[in-house]
Amino acid sequence: MTDIRYLAPPTLDEAVSAFAAAQGAARILAGGTDLLVQMRNGMARPGTIIDIKKIPEMTSVTESADGGFWVGAAVSGAALAEHPRFGKVWPGVLEAINLIGSTQVQGRASPGGNLCHGSPAADSVPAMVAAGAVVTIAGPNGRRTMPVEAFPAGPGRTNLAAGEILVGFTLPARPAGSGDAYLRMIPRTEMDIAVVGVGVSLTMAGGVVAAARVGLGAAAPTVLLVPDAARALVGSKLDDAALNAAAAACSAACKPIDDKRGTIVYRTKVAAVLLKRAAAIAADRAQGKA
């Protein structure tokens, strides 16, 4: 009935060629936790499936000499959790990636897939946005990079051009006194899609916030960077006034919808609550208290 091809190229160049050759009829397979569900319910009918897990660059986690990290697009959450250093430097990013689905899903699901799925509720994305991650993209015209927050284009859509593949994430080196955190609201304790998710990354110096980035998920058509919330935190000692201002900025940034997972009113309120809680955890981590 169907005439699907399965390819597992060993190099990125071959993957890019095959993907381009399929002229939009191909889908990239990393962990498959979204793609197989889409194929099952008829939302995806790829002519070619390109499995990228045999490409070393896309399944590796490496720490650079300056302390930055490369995370391949197809690295599974479980593999990332086993990296000896990553979770120590980016605990918020790791906890966000490890919130995607169950233990079983963790064995397969990748941050690259999470980003390419284009869901505004993707757990790893607000944390990556807060971390200032930059994505590397490869296509028929070579490689390019962009900040992670520029990648999503809307629900289920990305800014990948035709024939382009997400290769991986570069996380910047961390100054001393840095910490990050990601919190999401879900009705159950596990197995839900985020109703709202907030990632916060802070650098603290002498008890004062020296730098901050805030990512907000499930509150707008795409995951957002919230500069106003970050500005409210920078220069403060995370006193109530600063936290309230940042929380208000987070709520103000919300442009959510009413759907089966949450209401506009609820999401807007919760964004503020999570900002405060995530900022407190990030600050504790930055100051070595947690």
Partner: protein
Amino acid sequence: MNAIDNKWIGKRTIRPDGADKVTGRAGYSADHSMPGMIWGRVLRSPHPHAVIRGIDTSKAEALPGVKAVVTAKDIVDFPLDKSVMLGIQDMRWMCRNIMAREKALFHGHPVAAVAAISEEVAEAACKLIEVDYEVLPHVIEIEDAIKPDAPILHDFVRHEGKPSNIATTMVNKLGDVDAGFAQADLIIERSFKTRPVHQGYIEPHACTVSHAADGKVTIWSSSQGQFMVRAMTSLLTGIPQSNIRAIPAEIGGGFGAKTIIYLEPVAVMLAKKSGRPVKMVMSRDEVFRATGPTSGSMSTVKIGVKKDGSIVAAQGTFYLQAGGLPGSPLRGPVGCSFSPYNIENVLSVGYDVVSNRSKVAAYRAPGAPLGAYATECVLDEIAEKLGMDKLELRLKNTAKPGGKTVYGATFGQITFKETVEAIKNHPHYTAPLDKNPSKGVVRGRGVASGFWFNAGGESSAQVNLTEDGNVTVTTGHPDVGGSRASIANVTAELLGIDHSRISVLIGDTSSIGFSNLTGGSRVTFASAMVVTQSTEKVIGQLKERAAKIWKIDPEAVIWDNGEARPAGPNAGQFPPLTLKELAAKANEMGGPIGAGVQLNTTGADPGFATHCVDVEVDVDLGIVRVLRYTAAQDVGRALHPSYVEGQIQGGVVQGIGWALSEEYLYNAKGQLDNASFLDYRMPVCSDVPMIEPIMLEIPNPKHPQGVRGVGEAPIVPPLAAIANAIHDALGKRFYSLPMSPPKVLEVIDAR
């Protein structure tokens, strides 16, 4: 029977079907295959409400690989003007539920089915079937369905003489409520809403069916009753029961929903038309969209009390969602809501409301939880207003032996008081609760009680000795949660032999006598009864054989600890004859040893439960978590305590889901919007604490081992217990379920 002397009854033995279930060998519904088997798929209505003007299946039939197509015209039609009942199921509705006839009544309603060489081909063929729909306005919620200008689903349904979506009304009455309320010092009247919730079994409906050239049909499927499968398939296909053999596969959960069928008659007709065995397996999406759930509800409960807390009158009005065809479990809320209490004046009224949703199926104590939710929340408020302890209020009003129930029965033994006292004296209820453990976190404790009728009914058993002196027991009841383990314990106890020598099986419809559904909390009660009687007959035969060997009177032989012995010195001096020895001599001494009993069992007295729960509320996010849960229930006699506890623990956690997170969500187009385990939020392992069961063993005098039904009562109290605990935490009352975070936060922020 003295519990202390028991060797097997009450022991936590290993279940007879256990090893197969932990190694993946147990055969469930979808695990059976046949040579030459093809696959069936169902085409379902994309509209919630539409007239079916015509169906053209020619393109589907022409697709290579397609072997048969079935529509409603292949299913026996039961005309609308004459009810044909099978148990509580009306075949007029069943035939229309398994295959839409005049109208599609909900999104997902089957309209045709295809059998083909693969599921993919069958699926593709379904897309080629052209259905000419005349789309009609739809109605989903009760409040909309009972409006005067609501779209009417069925022209033949009349309420108070007018076309209506209210299909039936049930009225139960005791005394005079008006006179009762006139005596009251305090009257509280509140209205409540609940959402439909799904039974949520992990095993989707599936079957494999063979229709042989001689017209003999074999069905492998899991259900809560292979005899129901046979009878319903027979009625809906016109094939006589004697030509149908229904083989019970292991069942992967049912909770009431597998007391009816969806696929089997369709698969039989596909098999008949194609001449090939047919397998059908529902997807999870289909399970949510087109099977179950239980009714959502709109209830009003009014209770009047004297200053001392004695209840003088109670009135309940319960509107239940039936789905697209009539059949809400009205008897649950109407009969159960007030039955734990001794109230002279009761009026309890239920309305069965049709709307464009999937037809409801039974779910654990059908309808009773939503009635108890209303009643037990009102009682909580009454206790608060009277300044009375909540359990004292219940103790003051417990129903009495000899008391008349609103549903017509007269109580015999009553064990409600004991469940209330068990909670009252339990360290959970008496422990202090830190109500504000940290900033933004509050805690509360709630209690509630519940009632379920329980049931007896038809059961059959056969107990046979094997030639090598061991025992096989066959019953006719699918085992949903360990009933084989209980039966093994009973048989071992009565025969006085080691548990490991007994094998317990579930017979198919051709190998064991008629046995009614596994449901109504009846199976352990009824099957232990017929197995006991069968085993006693076997013991009688064993004594006769020993008497024959010893050439003494059978009356002079006793059966003791697995051996026949002379009753006393006067009977003669003979060494005991073991079961093994007697089995070895069976054929020379008169033939094989074995006995069966078929009985319509009676004496299943009602079940009562009282629960206590602590919750914690995150006041900034509106999230409620259950911290501690204790459930007291009279279980009569726990033949296998682990599986009795399991029933209580499982029922409670289903209740927690119902109270906090589970609901059917429809979009504006009348389509179910959360037909997946991702968005239909059943509790996961990390959502719940340990559930502490208190098993009160007060033997039921009407049962040989004292068994009382257990499975259903545990889901009755949790909805109200949790609502009452949240009130204790927040000082706010909730009148609709689920108490999900957005709803809880809205109420918190309203202060």
